[in-house]
């Protein structure tokens, strides 16, 4: 069981300290956003499972040589088992609880936002049924869900050309159609549970950038990349009220450069290697259970 704990600690360190900065600093996620998302999801899942399994291993170690043996002799549980078990259980409950609460909060915020949008905006049928808000500042966003909304402000309508508007709408529709909100949700919950962990913050920021890249690529299938890049510039540099300035600005610059000078997609070899890596990362907690059976 000592070997199992050692393996789990090693995996946990790799997943939480080595992997996140390596992936965030690499150039390939911009060439294959889907694989980037896959790896982040694998890392998030593995991080949670490894931590829980490590606590379970510590709890069961005094009771037997494998996890199963330990579970059989739970009646001999001592202080170590009780403390580690309780911490593990609390952590599990907290993770699930935060996921539930943040999902519920998101849904509620979305519902009230949609109610207000429907109340005060006018649908523009020429622009794919987008809801238009009567406000001079340019904004464009979408409200995901079963009854999604595309929202534009009057400011965005007057700032962007028709081609640019259609490219922006295609980008937002890609978010809605592929339910990118569901991809982001677990990372929002993870961020709410462990706001101080650098790995969690990196993962959250990277995932939200990657879904933007995906939506950009979708929009670029039917629209000129330059139109989308110009729209990014126009909306990004429109005068924003203080406080909002600079938030996510780096991402906008990165996206515009990528649109204007698109990198080649990953070839099959490296892409398969990354899929394999994601599978290994996601399966790493199994190592912890396997090691005591083999040793």
């Amino acid at each position: 069981m000592l070997a199992a704990a050692g393996v789990l600690v090693a995996c946990l360190l790799l997943v939480s300290l080595v992997l996140p900065p390596a992936v965030a600093g690499a150039a390939w996620p911009a060439r294959a956003p889907v694989l980037g998302l896959l790896l982040w999801q694998a890392a998030g899942l593995a991080g949670g499972l490894l931590t829980l399994l490590l606590l379970a291993t510590i709890a069961l170690a005094p009771l037997g040589d494998t996890h199963v043996q330990g579970l059989r002799h739970l009646d001999r549980a001592g202080v170590v088992t009780w403390v580690a078990g309780a911490v593990g259980l609390l952590l599990l409950l907290r993770l699930l609880g935060v996921l539930l609460v943040s999902t519920w909060r998101t849904l509620r915020a979305r519902r009230s936002n949609r109610l207000l949008v429907d109340l005060v905006s006018e649908r523009n049928l020429l622009l794919r049924g987008a809801s238009v808000l009567d406000h001079a500042l340019p904004v464009a966003y979408c409200l995901p869900g079963l009854r999604p909304r595309l929202v534009l402000s009057r400011g965005a309508l007057s700032l962007l050309s028709y081609d640019e508007l259609r490219a922006v709408l295609a980008h937002e529709e890609a978010h809605l159609r592929h339910r990118h909100d569901l991809v982001v949700l677990p990372f929002v919950a993870l961020g709410a549970t462990f706001p101080a962990l650098p790995a969690v913050r990196t993962a959250g920021a990277e995932v939200s950038l990657l879904i933007e890249l995906l939506a950009d690529d979708r929009a670029a299938r039917h629209h000129e990349r330059t139109h989308l890049a110009r729209a990014l510039w126009k909306i990004g540099t429109a005068e924003a009220p203080s406080g909002a300035l600079g938030a996510g600005g780096e991402d906008v610059l990165l996206r515009a450069r990528r649109l204007l000078d698109p990198p080649a997609p990953l070839s099959l070899g490296p892409a398969s290697a990354l899929v394999a890596l994601a599978v290994v990362v996601a399966a790493s907690p199994l190592l912890g259970i396997a090691v005591p059976l083999l040793v």
Binding site: S102, R105, T106, A109, R110, N113, L115, L116, V117, L119, V120, L133, D134, H135, L137, V139, A140, Y141, C142, L143, P144, V151, S153, V168, H171, E172, H175, H180, D181, V184, L185, V188, I211, T226, A229, R230, A231, L232, W233, I235, G236, T237, A238, A240, P241, G243, A244, L245, G246, A247, G248, G249, E250, D251, V252, L253, R255, A256, R257, L260
Partner: protein, 105 residues
């Protein structure tokens, strides 16, 4: 909502129904809609009068302002509720963007 926004004073259900005359709505339907909007926090009801009167809690402009604040990222709990097209960039980033675009056109 439009009717109540345009009205100078709170209206009763009957008055709202009369104002919406052209829409051919039943009085009971109007009452149902009014109480639903109240439940959603968009209307206030004054129950002191014999016939309850309704008034809009906030103007159309107020609601737009709230939505714009959320869209511009002033409210933090909304991060997952909506997905922006683009956020504001710093002046240095704007320069870099401008140069990138100039290279193309």
């Amino acid at each position: 909502m439009e009717t109540l926004w345009n009205a100078p004073a709170p209206l009763t259900g009957r008055q709202v129904a009369d104002a919406l005359d052209s829409h051919d709505l039943a009085y009971t339907t109007v009452l149902t809609v009014l109480s639903r909007l109240k439940k959603k926090g968009l209307l206030s009801r004054d129950a002191t009068a014999r016939a309850h009167t309704y008034a809009a809690v906030a103007s159309r402009e107020d609601h737009v302002a709230v939505l714009m604040q959320q869209a511009l990222g002033h409210a933090d709990d909304r991060q997952a509720a909506l997905q922006h097209f683009a956020r504001s960039v710093t002046p240095a980033e704007a320069d870099a963007l401008r140069r990138a675009l100039d290279g193309i056109t």
